[in-house]
């Protein structure tokens, strides 16, 4: 019998205590960054603004679906965009849902999409200062990611080395909407710095492209297509990192994929292994079947959670990936937010649930 869902079972009526691996803070306006920019770059920002690879100011060319891509209820009453008001974030998400640790991913004005590399460097440093002072110091549940412009490896390395001792920073963030696939050597200094400092590399797509259409078939017409390319673009980058031998070169590099889903990973592993077998002479630097690098080096954040017609199919998918590799993420305050009380709505043991909600992220990010 097919009973309608009226109110879904809330997982564990007792309050959750979980790690959220993807929370997006944003500036109320660019002025929030002024204290962290030199007079020169303040003036540059006011006069020239950002210079990215797209044709519109303050709007993307695939406008988002819901409320400018935000949860419609997450707009602060006193103005500013969703994610700009700590108090609302606490009330609506951190306290309300029981976030034990929230990993910040500061997408906006962090320089990942900026074409002027000196400005990108200034933005990246400013956004990291801003995360520290305006967020982490005000709510110790929050942890920052060191946002670096992936197209400016030199600055990225300096920024990583400068921040890494600070407990507040738990990973490095770059955008897989890069100008070249992330396995290409221009990015290797960033990986070297991550590996040397034993800090996780988090990949989160930024809004604007690095100069390529968002799919191998070209630009899609609709936002619904653009949304899908988050997954395929990340797939392309993962293929690149594996096949170029990044994980042979940096054997302790750990990568967290944020906001790209995960259910595609087993099929990717199978496909890579199958064709690598035939073609392996081309890539003698790879010592093992590609799927083994995936299994060892990559962690997956859940959002946007796939919702199969039969929920149990996800259990199988995670069996194939490994239960220690999946970490819950909400994407608060974006429109495709996953709610921790409902999203893990498929069969698993208590231990597996605890792993996804908390323990896997704690182990990876070495959270207390």
């Amino acid at each position: 019998m097919n009973m309608p869902v009226l109110e879904r079972n809330v997982q564990g009526k007792s309050k959750l205590s979980f790690v959220d691996c993807d929370i997006h803070p944003i500036q109320r306006s660019e002025k929030d960054l002024h204290p962290y920019l030199s007079a020169h770059w303040r003036e540059h920002m006011t006069t020239f603004g950002g210079h990215v690879r797209q044709g519109l100011i303050g709007q993307v060319m695939h406008p988002r679906m819901m409320a400018a891509g935000q949860r419609a209820d997450a707009y602060p009453k006193n103005g500013g965009p969703p994610g700009s008001d700590l108090e609302l974030m606490q009330q609506q998400h951190l306290d309300f849902n029981g976030v034990e640790t929230g990993m910040l991913v500061a997408l906006s004005r962090g320089g990942m999409e900026e074409r002027n590399l000196d400005f990108a460097a200034a933005l990246s440093s400013a956004v990291n200062d801003w995360q520290l002072h305006d967020w982490v110091e005000k709510d110790r549940r929050l942890k920052a990611g060191i946002v670096v412009p992936q197209e400016h490896a030199e600055h990225a390395v300096q920024e990583i080395d400068r921040r890494v001792q600070d407990e507040a920073f738990r990973q490095v963030i770059i955008s897989p909407k890069s100008s070249e696939p992330l396995g290409r050597r221009r990015y290797w200094p960033i990986y070297e710095a991550c590996a040397r400092n034993n800090i996780v590399l988090g990949l989160h797509p930024a809004g604007v492209s690095g100069g390529n259409p968002s799919s191998g078939t070209g630009w899609g017409t609709y936002y619904m297509q653009e949304h899908y390319t988050f997954g395929t673009t990340t797939t392309g980058n993962l293929i690149s990192m594996v096949i170029e031998g990044v994980f042979e070169k940096f054997p302790n590099l750990k990568v967290a994929l944020i906001e790209s889903g995960f259910s595609w990973a087993p099929a990717l592993g199978w496909r890579m292994d199958k064709h690598w077998e035939r073609m392996r002479k081309e890539t003698p630097h790879l010592k093992r079947p590609p799927s083994e690098y995936l299994r060892e080096h990559v962690w997956f954040c859940t959002q946007p959670m796939e919702e199969p017609e039969t929920a149990g199919h996800l259990t199988e998918i995670i069996d194939w990936i490994g239960w220690d590799r999946i970490m819950f993420s909400s994407d608060y305050p974006h429109w495709d937010f996953d709610d921790p009380k409902y999203a893990l709505n498929f069969k698993m043991t208590d231990k597996q649930r605890a792993g996804i909600l908390r323990d896997n992220a704690k182990a990876l990010y070495r959270l207390a």
Partner: protein, 137 residues
Amino acid sequence: MSRYVVAKAGEVAPGTSKLVTVKGREIGIFNVQGAYYALANTCPHEGGSLCEGRITGLVQSDGPGQYKLLRKGEFLRCPFHGWEFEVATGQSYCDPTSMRIRQFNVEVAPGEDVVKGPYVAESFPVSVEEEYLVVEV
């Protein structure tokens, strides 16, 4: 089941909603062209607060490139993922058989009746001259 007086009838204008709390439960009272509906303020998908969503119409199409907006004011978009629900039935447009918002009975009762009881209206001064919205929970 008891009947709760939740608002004066005039308080919820057509095309709007009002969030009320009854027995610790959030309920949205919607007025669609003069007809009242009471829906749980919890989206059956992942619990979005439905009263924060936009009231909208039904978008239909005769084919690619054709758009029309019908039945304005009769649908509700969840503020989280934007799923559409018909206010009158609580049904999800995309998945009407298995996804539905919990509904409650709501009716307009004259103040005279309300004063007589057996309505629960502690926090609500009721006067005989007015009409009230009464929800059954």
